[in-house]
Amino acid sequence: MPYVPHTPEDIRRMLGVIGAPSVASLFDEIPAELRPKSFDLPAGKSEMDVLAHLEALAKKNAVNHVSFLGAGFYDHHIPAAVDALSMRSEFYTAYTPYQPEASQGTLQAIFEYQTAVTRITGLAYANASVYDGGSALFEGAMMAVRHTGRRKLVVCEAVSPIYRVMLSSYTSNLHLELVTVPHKDGACDLAALTKALDADTAAVVVQNPNFFGTLHDFTALFAAARAAGVVSLISVYPVLQSVLKSPGEMGADVAVAEGQSLGLPLSFGGPYLGVMTCNKELVRQMPGRMVGRTVDTEGRTGYVLTLQAREQHIRRQKATSNICSNQALCALRALIHLCLLGQEGLTRTAETCIERAHYAAERLTAIDGVKLLSGDAPFGNEFAISLPVNAYKVIDKLSARGVVPGFPLGRYYQGLENVLLVACTEKTSTESIGIFAEMLRGALK
């Protein structure tokens, strides 16, 4: 039997020591009425046959298209050493580091990950990560609710709609008020956001670049929030953060991110990485695991899980969150990725992404009837274009010819049925941008 090493002789010996007549007798406590009504599963297969089956399924997925899909999830180059190192079994077959002396590898890596992400966001404290960028945003909002004792969340409509629907599912039983402030042609309405802050507001929630790719400086909004006792919560894109004004520089209290762009494959939606950082004032509200540095009995530096008294295994129903793990392996990959690129490599990556996107925007808006949705508002590696036809039509036509031209914003925004969200990364070649532009020109004729 695969992965079970016991021979019939071993089993006889073990039953002898236990004093049980048979393996079946070990299950005698399960009453007849609780026995399975069916257990109709296929017979086992060889490793070769299972792999052949999965290879056949993998082939049914079209992954060789030229793709301009982003929407918060990007196809970046992952250095080979990220796979090689994160696949060391000492990392990936370990459990949560409950025994710190036997887990210094995982613990130091998480400590270094915490350091790296705080440097990126410019806020002083980080946790060991949560499931994804959306759960990080929800947990960040809950930090604000606990910190302020207030129950209203003011959310910019240009925050990823994927995260906003998660936020509304999660908060539906928690008696919170979600106020959504409409975007203006893909840009955040800073005046309306500022106006919406009041004495009941726990947090103002924004994103940079926002879902439309538009960039903002939220410094004034965050200052107004601070004056009103409101927590500033921002979701960012870590790759671009190497060049963009940091949440810390803008005066944010909590900064979260989807860490997928840091060494994690797209992998059809997960596993991803929820990055969470905050300033000192809010660190006691941080959910999830955190690693801290300390010393051993000999005075040597070592690392432990810390501030555990906030967590579910001690606080039970009074815990800051029910989260009891982190995305350790994904955080490790992100850290290795950041170390391999370094400051220079990440900056070059960001600049290349932005350069390609600006080139693509130039080529596409040269086509009759194609305009940037946000006019001359600055954007990073992604931008929205309005088309003279429904975006789905263009997607259908182009994807049949091997180009997935972007994401149809009409899926989430009423009135934007003709708008396409186009993303570039360092992997997007200028040739493929040229092909896309020519195909689009043809499709709109």
């Binding site: 501030l307 555990q308 008294a309 906030r310 001690i314 009074k318």
Partner: protein, 126 residues
């Protein structure tokens, strides 16, 4: 380790009543049960306390425990030193480990004297 001049709550807080002001903290027994304290969450100056209601919490590495107000009144002073040195509560719970000064709203009721509190501790230790 149960001073005679203090009053005690069954939930292991002590109160030193001087006129209409009470100084409050947690007892030696409580700090010993919790182990080395790592964080103390206290109400702010101006907060209103109700005797028997939750007023904050203390954390150690492996435990967390709520604090209950032994008296009713308004917080007039918080021991700020505890923020960076919670160990004072372990080392000297009745003096430098004090937590709050409270202007009493009413005369404290239902507090135990040292002998009665000693019985509470003895019962819990078993």
């Amino acid at each position: 380790m149960i001073p005679n001049d203090l009053k005690y709550a069954k939930s292991h807080e002590w109160a030193k009543i001087e006129g209409d002001v009470a100084t409050i903290g947690i007892t030696h027994f409580a700090q010993e049960q919790l182990g080395d304290l790592t964080f103390i969450d206290l109400p702010k100056v101006g907060a209103t306390l109700t005797a028997g209601a939750e007023m904050g919490s203390v954390e150690s590495v492996k435990a967390a425990s709520e604090l209950y107000a032994p008296v009713s009144g308004t917080v007039t002073e918080v021991n700020a030193a505890l923020e960076n040195a919670p160990e004072a509560v372990n080392q000297d719970p009745y003096n430098s480990g004090w937590m709050l000064k409270v202007k009493l709203a009413s005369a404290p009721a239902d507090l135990l004297d040292a002998a009665a509190y000693a019985d509470v501790c003895a019962a819990e230790a078993h």
